[in-house]
Symmetry: C2
Subunit: 506 residues, 2 copies
Amino acid sequence: MNPTRFASRHSCARISQVAATFALLGGGMSFAAAPPDLDAIRKQVVAQHEASVKRLKDWIALPSIAAEDLNSREGAEYMAELARDAGFQKVEIVQTDGKPGVFAVLDAGAAKTVGLYFMYDVKHFDPSEWSSPPLEARLVDKPGVGKVMVARGAVNQKGPESALLAALHAIRAAKQTIPVNLVLVAEGEEEIGSPHIGQLALRPDVQAALARTIGVFMPSASQDLDGVTVVSLGAKGVVELELVASGEKWGRGPGKDIHSSLKAMVDSPAWRLVKALDTLVSDDGNTVTIDGYPKAPPISAEEKAVVVAAAAKRSEAKAKQQYDVQHWIDDLPWAQANERLVSQPTVNIQGLVGGYTGPGGKTVLPHRAVAKIDMRLVPGMTRDAAVAALKAHLAKRGYGDIEVNVSGGYDPTSTDVNSRLIQAQLALLRRKGLDPVLWPRNAGSYPGFVFTGAPLSLPSAHFGLGHGSGAHAPDEYYVIESSNAAVQGYDGAVMSFVEYLYELAK
Amino acid sequence: MNPTRFASRHSCARISQVAATFALLGGGMSFAAAPPDLDAIRKQVVAQHEASVKRLKDWIALPSIAAEDLNSREGAEYMAELARDAGFQKVEIVQTDGKPGVFAVLDAGAAKTVGLYFMYDVKHFDPSEWSSPPLEARLVDKPGVGKVMVARGAVNQKGPESALLAALHAIRAAKQTIPVNLVLVAEGEEEIGSPHIGQLALRPDVQAALARTIGVFMPSASQDLDGVTVVSLGAKGVVELELVASGEKWGRGPGKDIHSSLKAMVDSPAWRLVKALDTLVSDDGNTVTIDGYPKAPPISAEEKAVVVAAAAKRSEAKAKQQYDVQHWIDDLPWAQANERLVSQPTVNIQGLVGGYTGPGGKTVLPHRAVAKIDMRLVPGMTRDAAVAALKAHLAKRGYGDIEVNVSGGYDPTSTDVNSRLIQAQLALLRRKGLDPVLWPRNAGSYPGFVFTGAPLSLPSAHFGLGHGSGAHAPDEYYVIESSNAAVQGYDGAVMSFVEYLYELAK
C-alpha cells in the first residue's frame, strides 16, 4: 500500500445492484431501531486512547516482513488475536503457498455486511537510516504536525488498521451496536506484491463471505497536511520484477566474477544489462518505449477536471518539499504533473545491483547484473500483458537471455463513484465540513483487483481520517495528537471509522 | 597488481645507458671475486622452508586494506620489520597524504643496485565467499597443482614478496654475499590505484636512491599451469572512477529516495545513469565510444607475432575454464583474443549500485545511482587525458551533472626488452630450460609508470617463478609444494629470486 493517493473513474457500475440485493439478506435491525449515541462512543474513544495507542505500539514491535521471511506465522497469529479481541467471533488463519492470511467474521446481526482488507506485514527497513528506532514506536514532536508515532508500519498500515479496531472496541464499550457485519481478510504479503491474495480472498468460504459484503475497504490515513481529504476511486496496477543479465544465461561473458582487465577479451553482462535497459524508456527516462506496451488511455475531460480541481486544493510547494523535488517531469505545471501521475504507466528502476557494490572500487568484470524494476499499470493494462510485452520486446532485440523474474504484482483496480462505499465517504466527509477531493486513481498500488475483478466484482476503496507519511522510507509516521486544526489525530481517526461504519449501514 | 600478464614493446631504450653509468658508482666487488655457492644457498632455502612459510602466514594474518582504512599503519610497520629482518640496514616509514609507505636500503657493498617495488596492502574480501578462511592461510591440496596456500594476499602479492625476502635470508644463512645492493619501496595503496605512490617513490632521497638502480622489479608468480613462464614488458594504465547520477546534482528527480509510484511525475537519476552509460560503449559493450577517446595504436607486426607465438604455447581450454568463459569477444580465435587483450583500451563496469539493493524489491524511486568503472589505457593514452575525454563526452551530451569521481589510476608503463632487468630474466629462464613467453603488455595494471616515467625513467618489470591465481577473487592461492613438474613451488620461487639477483649482478 502506498500513501500517494490518486484514483480514476474508469469503472464499472457493476456492483451497486448486487450489493443492494445482498443487503436484504442481512440479519437484525438493531441499528435501524435506534440512532447510535456517538457522544458515548466518543467518550470511550478518549477513555481508551492510551490502551489503543499501546495496542498499536505492541503490534509494531512485531514486524512481519515477507521479503525477509520474518515473523509471518507470528504476525498472522497476532493479527488473529487482534481480531478476536476486537469482537470478531470467527477467526481463522488461512494457509497459502506463501505466508498465511487471516479470515475473520464479526456477525453483528446487522442488515449489511462490509468487507475489510488488512495487511499485517510491513516494508523492510534499515534502522541506521532512522532518527528514532523503527520498532520502538516512539511519540515524537513534529513541528507543524503534532505528536506523531515514528515507526515502521505506523501509517502503512498498522496505524489506521489499529484505529479501526479501536473503533470496534469503543462502540462495544459504549454499549452501542456495531452497525454492520464485518468480513476481514488480512494478508502478510502485501509488501511483496500479494502473490497469494487469491488463495486467501477466493478460498470458497472466504469468497462466499466477501460476496455478501457491499464492498471492501482498507483503513488508511487520507488527510494531507493541507487538510485535503482524498477519496480515491482506484489504483494503478503494478508489476515488480528483476531483470538479470548473466554470463550463465547469455553464454557469453564470464560465469563468475573475473579480473576486470579481461574486459578486453571477454564480454560483459553488466554492459548487456545497461544496453537492454536503455531500450525500455525514452532518452529522458519518462516514456515507456517497450514494443506493444499498452498505451495509456487518454485522460477523460471529467477526470482532467477532477485532477485540476484537486491540484488547486493541494500545495505544490509542500509536495515539492515532501519529495525533495525541484521540477516535475518536463517542467510541467502542478496540475499537468498530477494528470501525468494519474494517467501514465511507468517503468521505474528501484535498484541496480551488479558486481562490486561496496565502498571504493574492485577490479572485477561481474558475471551478473540486476535491475530491480517496477512497472505501474493504468486501466486497460493487465499484469500479464505487461510482462508478456516486456519479454517479447527483449527477445525481439536479441536480449532473450535476460531473465525477467516477476516477484509480484496485480492489475489496476477501479471502483464506481456511485457505489455505497464511495458515496458513504462523500456524505460523511461533507457532513463534517470537509471538502473531499475525488481522485481518479492512486499512482501507488494495492491488490484491490482481487475484490473489484471477477468473480467478486465488488467495490473496493480506502477510508480513514488522519495523516501519516513515509511509507517504505525511514521515519515513517502516523499522527497521534494533531497540532494542525485541519488534520485529525488518532482519536479523530478512530471516530472517522465509527462514523463510516454507521454511514455504511444506512 | 593483477595476475593476468601480457606486455608490450612500446618502449624506450632510454634507460640502459643511465643504468650502466650508475653501476660504476657502486661499492665493493665481493661477488665478482667468487661465484656464489648456489648449492649451499639451496640447502638453506630447504632448511628454512617452514620458517619462511610461517613468515608468510603471519604476514597474511595482518591484512592492510586501504579502501577500508584497515591496518595501514600496522601494515607499514610490519613491512618495515620484515625488511629489517631480511637485512635492510636503513628502513624508514614514509608518510604520505594517504597511507604510509616504506623505504629501505640494503647496502651489500655491491657494484650494482636493484630496485624492488612491494605492496603491503591486499584487496578487500568477503570471507563468506571463501572455501577456507582468507586470513588463516591454510595449506590445501589442489588437484593437479599441489599444496597451495589459500589466503587473501597469497599471490597478490605477499607470497612472491615473502619468497624474495626468504631468498635474502637464505643467502645470508649460507654465508654468501648478497650480490646487489637493494632499494625497496613498499606502498599500502596499490589496491586503490596508488594515489600517493609519487609521494613515496619521488621523495627526493628515495628518488635519488632509486636513480642509482638498474631498474625496479616486483616479485611475482610468473608461471601458469601450462608451465609457461611470462616475461612482461609493461602494463596497461588504469583509471578507477565512479559515475554518480543524483537528484542533488542534476536539479531534477528527487533529493532523497521517494515512493516509486511518483515516477509518473518525477524524473529518475537511475534512468539518467543508464542513458549516460549507454553512450560510452558500442552496442556489444566492447568498443569504447567516448568522443575524443584516444584510439589504440595498431598492434605492430612484431607484437602480433609475439602474441601469436605465446598464444600457441598457452592452453585456450584452460583459460576458458579458469575464467568460466565459453566465447571470447566476437568469437575471436585464441590468438586474436589475446591480441585484443594486449592492444585494446576498455571501459568496464565493476559494479552498479543504485536505490534498493537488498533481497526482493522495494518500491522506491532512488535519488542516486552509481556505476563503478575502470578504464584500461594503452600506450599513447594517459590517465588525465582519458578522464578529460570522459568528462567532455558527458558534458557534450548534456550529462555534465553526472559526477566523475576518480579514485585512482595511472598511465601505461613499458620497459625496453634490451634492459638488463629483462635480459637477465630471459638469460636465467633459458638457462633453466624454460622457454619464456615475451609478452608485450599486461592487461592488468601496476604503478610502474612512477619508475618508467620521468624523472626516473627506469626499467620496471615483474619476476618470479612459481604460480598462484585468484587475485581479487575468493580462494586466492599461491603454490607452496608443486605437484606439477612444470611449475615451481615455494622453494623454487625463492631460488628463482636468488638466481635472478646473481644474474642481475653480472
